[in-house]
Symmetry: C2
Subunit: 339 residues, 2 copies
């Protein structure tokens, strides 16, 4: 069922058949209709590979995320997909599982398969890898800041400022012994949050105290365990900033089951604005990241690059996070602040 068969059956040349597929305006309406009819009858679909062997425009873009079950990742994916679908592109969504080897593998396969562009979220690739990609002619956009990387097309949210705002808010609520439950250090995201934390404390005249910082796994269990350690250590705290909602939920679970009252005894803030946060009691104050919009912006940026094959300058797009105030920090102080 190739183009030749269609041509024979329709009594025309292969070129004409090819034309009705690629430049229909160059074919008489009459023959065009006839050929289309024959194609339908024969149930013909052109061989996509033969088609792309020369042009190498595949209409596909790749999107790498760390974890399909992470809603933040998937919101980005939805944003990307929505733009891509508008533009008639398809998205290859790949799950790297936080595995740098798998990430590299995927990048190579995708480039080999001549995807038109690539969006990397929270990449573990180094500058050298990216340079090599660029040399191979790959178009790509990064999502999520990475300190070791510069001069790239990138979309990110500013975690430092957002954290700063959250801590400042806790201070205006009258809290001063503010614990920090935070992920591993090498991650740029984590470091930004730590910086924001320190900066807000400094601004508020509160000395930084290492003893208030607890590292934990970014998971509910991680938060739970961190809270356990906090209680065991008996370090006095009147607030905890957990650097992700997942951790915050674990912290909340532990504190509640230990009879600690939130927000009366300890105020709690998370980061991510997971939907769950609005369902637990007390509802969790948190910082909402514009993940969907990041996906949109990343995709738009990528298509700008793909289509306008001219601009050499790299774009850096920073989006704003937003503090979402709910009950987990109390509201007396809040009222004071307002009135």
């Amino acid at each position: 069922m190739n183009i030749k068969a269609v041509a024979d059956r329709a009594g025309v040349s292969v070129a004409t058949v090819s034309r009705v597929m690629n430049h229909p305006e160059l074919v008489t309406a009459e023959t065009r209709e006839h050929i289309l009819a024959v194609m339908k009858k024969m149930n013909y679909t052109p061989n996509w590979f033969a088609r792309n062997i020369q042009s190498s425009r595949t209409g596909m873009i790749g999107l790498l995320v760390h974890d399909f079950l992470d809603p933040s990742n998937m919101e980005i994916a939805k944003g990307v997909e929505s733009i891509a679908h508008q533009k008639g592109y398809h998205v290859m969504l790949c799950n790297t599982e936080f595995n740098p080897v798998k990430e590299k593998e995927y990048v190579e396969t995708l480039i080999e398969r001549k995807i038109d562009g690539l969006i990397l979220t929270a990449t573990t690739l180094k500058n050298s890898d990216l340079d090599r990609m660029k040399k191979q002619g790959a178009n790509y956009v990064l999502v999520g800041k990475n300190k070791t990387i510069n001069r790239q097309n990138i979309v990110y949210t500013d975690y430092k400022t957002a954290t700063e705002e959250a801590i400042r808010y806790l201070i205006t609520m009258g809290r001063s012994r503010i614990g920090l439950v935070i992920g591993e250090y090498p991650k740029p995201e984590t470091e930004e949050k730590l910086e924001g934390y320190k900066r807000a404390l400094k601004e508020g005249g509160i000395p930084f105290d290492e003893a208030l910082v607890y590292q934990a796994d970014n998971s509910i269990e991680g938060g739970f365990l961190a809270a356990s350690r906090i209680l065991d250590d008996k370090v006095p705290m009147d607030a905890i900033f957990a650097s992700t909602d997942q951790m915050a939920l674990g912290v909340m679970d532990k504190l509640k089951s230990a009879g600690v009252h939130i927000p009366e005894d300890i105020a709690l803030i998370g980061f991510d604005d997971l939907r769950i946060g609005a369902l637990v009691e007390p509802k969790l104050t948190t910082i909402s990241k514009p993940m969907y919009r990041m996906g949109l912006m990343a995709a738009r940026l990528l298509f700008d690059i793909i289509e306008g094959e001219g601009t050499e300058e790299t774009q850096e797009i920073a989006l704003q996070s937003k503090l979402k105030i709910r009950k987990s920090c109390g509201n007396k102080g809040r009222l004071k602040e307002i009135w």
Copy 2:
């Protein structure tokens, strides 16, 4: 940077270069090493399209889901991806957004791009569509039962039996006015659950009462609104079975804020075993679906089909759900049952 260039540079013919890529055992170790070195030096990657123009084995499978943000969908995806990665395949994950048109589009594009197989979750396609796919030589597996479809390779969980078990459990806990908050009817999943509900009631000698059935959107808001209507209607109930956890969470939120005590006044069961369910107070009794395993099984089945191009018989694999008993139904009755 094509095969010819490599051949020239290595002083061999294109055939030899091709052979080191496809049948390395047919080439002297010496020349093989030499050619590999040249390929590395030239940074050569074969043109994937030219390669597949004849063989049409792409090493890709497609996976269609309705919503990237639905954790159940994504657990399936993880299961599929894990098997695929093992087998050296890549997964094209597509988001149909519950849009039958988009689903059809994706199916066609994927088949056109010669994916080796396709996994459809909760498909809206009809038998005729599937037959046409089969005729085109597409390999596919369905995930999630569909009443209008038969004789297909399919993996699903039995919602009816699971619901039955849950309702039976409520009855053994001494509840008898059991409300049902359920999704729209045309969906097979919904209908199975309704049947299970009716069957358990019948078995327990409780007459079915239409007034206890509330339709709702499958969302937290939907559950919330359904609970509002239940309270407004003042229909006496001592238990509610919500056909999804999302709805159950909405129901819980509303009931709690209306001062109704769970489980003392009303017992509550959900369906899906979302992680959130274990974090709300009281922790939600629910039914856990083996989504990840469904993904695994579906992928295995698909690869069996792809690789063993012989078996004509279709396979139907039913997996078991499991009732996960937590606090939202109380435990006095439970204790009674145990001792």
